[in-house]
Symmetry: C2
Subunit: 177 residues, 2 copies
Amino acid sequence: MDVITAIHTRRSVRAYTDARVDAEAVRTMLAAAMTAPSAGNGQPWEFIIVDDAARMAKIPEIHPYAGMAPKAPLGILVCGNTAKEKYPGFWVQDCSAATENLLLAAVGSGLGAVWLGVYPVQDRVAAFAAFFELPEKVIPLSFVVIGHPKQEQQRQDRFDAAKTHLNAWQKGKFPQF
Amino acid sequence: MDVITAIHTRRSVRAYTDARVDAEAVRTMLAAAMTAPSAGNGQPWEFIIVDDAARMAKIPEIHPYAGMAPKAPLGILVCGNTAKEKYPGFWVQDCSAATENLLLAAVGSGLGAVWLGVYPVQDRVAAFAAFFELPEKVIPLSFVVIGHPKQEQQRQDRFDAAKTHLNAWQKGKFPQF
């Protein structure tokens, strides 16, 4: 699938068929995530693959918006490993770019996914860290729930010229917008 | 270009030809950025398009790694608008996903780009905010320098099985890795 189409058809998908996610797609998504840009190319990330149905069933106990998780075949917890940061303070951006790549690779693999925010909500961070037995320097950023979507996603374009500025905040608009 | 190929050929591009970036590509990149996921779909972002050569020439004065900026035809400053956040604390993640979409749309448009980190380095944040006359609640996250790349980018795959974990930190590895 074309990259621009993938970006515009990526939606938060919360309803899945019963089909499993095959191992090749899991690798494709993780390779995409790990090829994201990162500060100083530090790649300060770790990924917990969750394919155990009993564990997926418990995710709603630690995240308030995870009602879809028990019916999903797969989850991936994206974590920052602050011990691997080259430029302190950038791990959130690095792991967010990785999460977005993961979501786009899901679309490109015919899958649907939803990004559940964990960090910086402290009780969620603590609950995910405990549930997944993370070491102290590994911080959960996002939990991505993944499956085969029940419905096809419509293309959308959220371009908004009002959010663009030319050369400085007040100077004007890009003439072609 | 295929989404998976775009993800794997996106590199930090710092050498550009003299060609301008056309308006259609600018819109494509900004539409991609604005279609990124965001917490509660709050879309708390703003974009400063920089096409003024005199302003691009001054970027190295406010960023230590912006030596390529004076020779680039275009820059885009990605900012968080904290007044538009639906879930406080998530704007960095939202704007990082937007930045990654922008970079991938650049690749899909035949362009090359590099993500220069601004936030959370406080002197850079202050310098960019002053230079671009940002209001108080608008915080610069990243400055993306964009042009037509002088060289073709090689595909890379940073997949690293050592950064994967199955169902919990210590439980084991995904069997197919």
